[in-house]
């Protein structure tokens, strides 16, 4: 499927607003979107919503023979899938760059940092060990898949419980969850990835880019840390040039964010444990609100409104004294003139008729110009198009 292309207008606007330190949804440059973590009914199933990005992780285990080089350690296998469900641009069965990058980063973040005690996964040394498999599926793509995937994977691993085993000589009995309580994995620490997007050759950086911001960014720096301020991995990508102190600054920001997110995960885990113990209802079905619109709702976005009042006053005061701003009348082209101040017409074509409207009273000047087109929804041939409301008055 083809993705909607990014227009030049959007790109310019995004870059300009980043320079003015404003983001599309009103966040600050170092703010994360709302993170929601929910667990499923099975142990080891976890969904993370990072704004609109949604990721599902599932952990499962099975008994396999170990690697020859390490007979006493269990195995871990990570798999991340980008299904076309998540975004029109994703295609199944294609090894895209993004897929390879995400998979490798997830592997390195969780395996090389040794967050799980693999020695405890050994059942019979040299013959049978547990293989833990983490499958991450991306359900909706709205930017920053790496962070969401790492949070989902580590939450799922912390939530997972493997079956209890009993060893008698060379016989291994695996007990089902009904016979004996399953055993949780021993998680040493929780590495969380934090992504930084760079713009304008590294001059501006943003934490947690959304999809539009990802499309205009120059490069990405991913730092994975745990709450003990240990860096688990760093990866820079994209053709950007960084400076050493930029990397150091990002690591400091990352440590703050990681401690917040680890708090969130522990709270979610505790909540889930409590609900299960009390016998209440838990699982995904509970987290999706019934009888309410799910997709098109929006949470309140914190938009900066501080100097709007001042700007509004400014406009009014400016409008009071047009001669100081624009010498009037201004002859723009033969047959048309401009009196007073108005918003510049942005049509690329010569459209000077708009200026004539400014001759009307002050309040009119502040009224926006918009195209009011009334087209009835019927499939009939007849189409009614009304001209600009102002123009019909003048002409």
């Amino acid at each position: 499927m083809r993705e909607t292309p990014l227009s030049n207008c959007e790109r310019d606007f995004l870059l300009k607003s980043i320079e003015a330190k404003k983001r599309l949804d009103g966040r600050q440059t170092y703010d994360y979107r709302n993170i929601k973590i929910t667990f499923g009914t099975d142990y080891g199933c976890c969904t993370v919503c990072l704004g609109k990005t949604r990721v599902l992780a599932q952990v499962s285990c099975e008994l396999v023979p170990p690697k020859d080089a390490r007979p006493t350690e269990g195995l871990m296998f990570f798999n991340l899938e980008l299904s076309p469900m998540a975004s029109p641009g994703f295609q199944s069965n294609r090894q895209s760059e993004l897929l390879v990058t995400l998979n490798r980063q997830l592997e390195r973040c969780l395996r090389n940092s040794r967050c799980i005690d693999t020695e405890s996964l050994c059942v019979i040394s040299g013959e049978k060990v547990w293989q833990i498999r983490v499958d991450v599926h991306v359900l909706n793509h709205d930017g920053n898949l790496m962070d969401a995937a790492s949070v989902a994977a580590i939450s799922a691993l912390s939530h997972f419980k493997r079956p209890e085993v009993a060893i008698q000589g060379r016989d291994v009995t695996v007990f089902s969850p009904e016979e004996r309580d399953p055993v949780p994995l021993s998680v040493y620490h929780m590495p969380i990835c934090v992504s930084f997007a760079f713009f304008q050759q590294g001059t501006y950086l943003l934490v947690d880019p959304c999809e539009k911001e990802e499309q205009v960014m120059d490069g990405l720096l991913v730092i994975a840390m745990n709450k003990h301020r240990e860096i688990c991995f760093i990866q820079s990508s994209g053709g950007i040039m960084l400076l050493k102190d930029q990397v150091l600054r990002c690591s400091k920001i990352a440590s703050v964010k990681v401690s917040e997110i680890t708090e969130l995960i522990s709270k979610a885990l505790e909540n889930d444990k409590r609900v299960r113990k009390e016998g209440g209802k838990f699982g995904f079905a509970e987290s999706v609100a019934k009888e309410r619109i799910t997709v098109l709702t929006r949470e309140e976005a914190p938009l900066e409104m501080t100097d709007v009042q001042a700007t509004a006053d400014e406009i009014i005061s400016k409008a009071d004294a047009p001669p100081e701003v624009v010498p009037s009348p201004v002859i723009v082209a033969t047959g048309t003139g401009q009196v007073g101040e108005g918003l510049q017409s942005t049509w690329g074509l010569e459209d000077d008729d708009d200026e004539e409207e400014e001759m009307s009273d002050l309040t009119e000047r502040e009224k926006k110009k918009d195209e009011v087109m009334v087209i009835s929804d019927s499939e009939e041939e007849e189409v009614v198009i009304l001209n600009q409301a102002g123009q019909s008055k003048c002409s």
């Binding site: 090894q95 760059e97 390879v100 990058t101 998979n103 490798r104 592997e107 390195r108 090389n112 940092s113 040794r114 490069g219 720096l221 840390m225 745990n226 003990h228 301020r229 240990e230 860096i231 688990c232 991995f233 760093i234 990866q235 820079s236 990508s237 994209g238 053709g239 950007i240 040039m241 960084l242 400076l243 050493k244 990397v247 150091l248 690591s251 400091k252 440590s255």
Partner: protein, 245 residues
Amino acid sequence: MAGLELLSDQGYRLDGRKATELRKLQARMGVFGQADGSAYMEQGNTKALAVVYGPHEVRGSRSKSLHDRAVINCQYSMATFSTAERKRRPHGDRKSSEMSLHLKQTFEAAVLTQLYPRSQIDIYVKILQSDGGNYSACVNAATLALVDAGIPMRDYVCACTAGFVEDTPLADLCHAEESGGGTTLSLALLPRSESIALVQMDARLHQDHLPALMEAATVACKGLSKVLDDVVRQHLQEVSVQTRE
């Protein structure tokens, strides 16, 4: 690994180097006739070959060509005999794809691609013997190959690994040190402007040690750049002696 001291009390490493010493570096340029540029590099026991073709027409789909700059295409592969155990899949597996991607990003930052729109530059790198620092050897060899091919670049790209043992940063790790479970930082640097083209780190490291580690890697890269510089100058001298009238 138990029983193997990465840093002895007198400050010597497994192969007798001091903490900040680099391995012996040898390189030759212009080793292949067919390619536009080629180089062979030995960094200690790690041996890497790099070959550059380009800029040439975009092969395959025309849609891949960019209207304002050149496309850089990298392929990284390891010979099956390069590691202790025979490698069953020399290329196409995830690690090689990731390495190819990283190489591509590194050189997209360094090569002046705006000078060749709608064309393609191919960089092929092969590891003949792997003893730690694969990525760094590839980057250094590819830099020499690009210089040999005459493709304009902003600066040399030098890469080096660095590790951390008992509060001492080590420069240029070998395989035993890398797989010992300690930290490995790979850094690709443009030495004159000290701008980082790629930084990559695995395994746990406390945040406070990061500046020291990066400093050690930067210094190592700068030392490497001097050696590369010498190699290029020597090669140019030899070539010009032969063509001088």
